[in-house]
């Protein structure tokens, strides 16, 4: 009951748990930043909202770092394992496979095209995802710092508020590329 391998566990932690938390925090953070406009809040409302926004942004930054670190250093090595025997064709273990196996890693499965035209999922999807996702923690950390540093003063500076939102959306877009391709890749060539 509730059998879950270590690989499945970390894949879920990386993509579903951390990814979902990031998505939820992005929605809250964007709404919080958007509403930081003069005349929209009371003094008490500003104080309450800023505290929540600062905490939320730092948590979001921590989650962004946790997502890319678990993805790169825990899950990704399983995706790109070299399972072919030394000297053999690198795709020999993938013959007739319909999913990755103990002799055919997800990367080799996709590149071998043994189950349809799948190579571009690796050469485009994975190659883009594994790199661009790392922009997310840089941008969201910068946003968290700016929100914490200026605090309610952002309300008085519409341009600063706008560029902070631009950076947050940029971080989210980078994470979205990673998340979407991760979901598709795990469907087509699951790590198991």
């Amino acid at each position: 009951m509730f059998d879950l391998s270590s690989r499945e566990f970390w894949t879920v932690v990386h993509g579903l748990v951390l990814g979902t938390a990031f998505l939820l925090l992005f929605g809250g953070g964007l709404a919080g930043l958007w509403s930081l406009r003069a005349g929209h809040l009371t003094t008490a409302g500003v104080q309450e909202r800023m505290h929540r926004l600062v905490v939320g942004m730092w948590v979001m930054a921590a989650i962004a770092w946790a997502t890319v670190i678990t993805g790169t250093w825990i899950v990704y090595p399983w995706y790109r394992e070299e399972l072919a025997e030394s000297g053999a064709n690198e795709f020999a273990g993938c013959a007739d496979a319909i999913l990755p196996t103990t002799t055919c890693s997800p990367r080799d499965f996709l590149r071998s095209n043994v189950s349809g035209d799948t190579a571009s999922w690796h050469t485009f999807g994975m190659e883009w995802k594994e790199h661009i996702a790392w922009a997310a923690p840089f941008l969201v950390t910068a946003v968290a710092f700016i929100v914490a540093y200026y605090g309610p003063r952002i309300i008085q500076r519409p341009w600063l508020r706008t560029v902070t939102i631009v950076m947050l959306v940029g971080g989210f877009a980078a994470a979205l590329v990673g998340g979407l391709y991760g979901a598709f890749l795990n469907k087509i060539a699951p790590i198991a």
Binding site: A38, G39, L41, T42, T43, G45, V46, Q47, V68, T72, W73, Y76, P77, R80, E81, T123, F124, E127, W128, E130, H131, I132, W134, A135, P137, F138, L139, T141, A142, F145, I146, Y149, Y150, G151, P152, R153, I155, Q156, R157, P158, W159, L160, V163, M167, G170, A174
Partner: protein
């Protein structure tokens, strides 16, 4: 020169008056914006160089600590170092400085966009070594 003098519009917010907030210089914000741009640019440049040069690819692979991450280990560790170290240096140097935040943002934005473009597979794969 403060934000108003640089043309950055400051709007009245009576709800903030009871908080008695002191002005903040823009140096620390400029530093973190630039550092994010630098981090993304380092990531993009290393992605391109890893594809174009076998020695760079092999060098970046040495950061994987035996975990099988491959050259992505070096790219991401060095890009993270680029972000964190530049933030520490710029943040320290600029912590009391009033700067033109708009100029710093647009430079950082340009670096970030360039770095992001370099991580796009059709771009970096066009430079693949034979």
């Amino acid at each position: 020169m403060n934000a108003t003098e640089r043309g950055d519009r400051i709007v009245d917010a009576p709800e903030l008056e009871p908080l008695h907030l002191e002005d903040r210089v823009d140096g620390p914000a400029a530093a973190v914006m630039m550092s994010a741009g630098i981090g993304i640019l380092v990531l993009g440049l290393l992605t391109l160089l890893s594809e174009a040069s076998v020695p760079v690819h092999d060098f970046l692979e040495k950061f994987e600590l035996g975990l099988g991450v491959g050259p992505l280990s070096g790219k991401t560790l060095l890009a993270s170092a680029g972000f964190l170290v530049s933030w520490a240096v710029l943040g320290t140097l600029m912590r009391h400085q009033e700067v033109d935040l708009r100029r710093w943002f647009w430079i950082a934005f340009t670096l970030g966009v360039l770095g992001a473009v370099l991580t796009f597979p059709p771009v970096f794969q066009a430079f693949a070594a034979d």
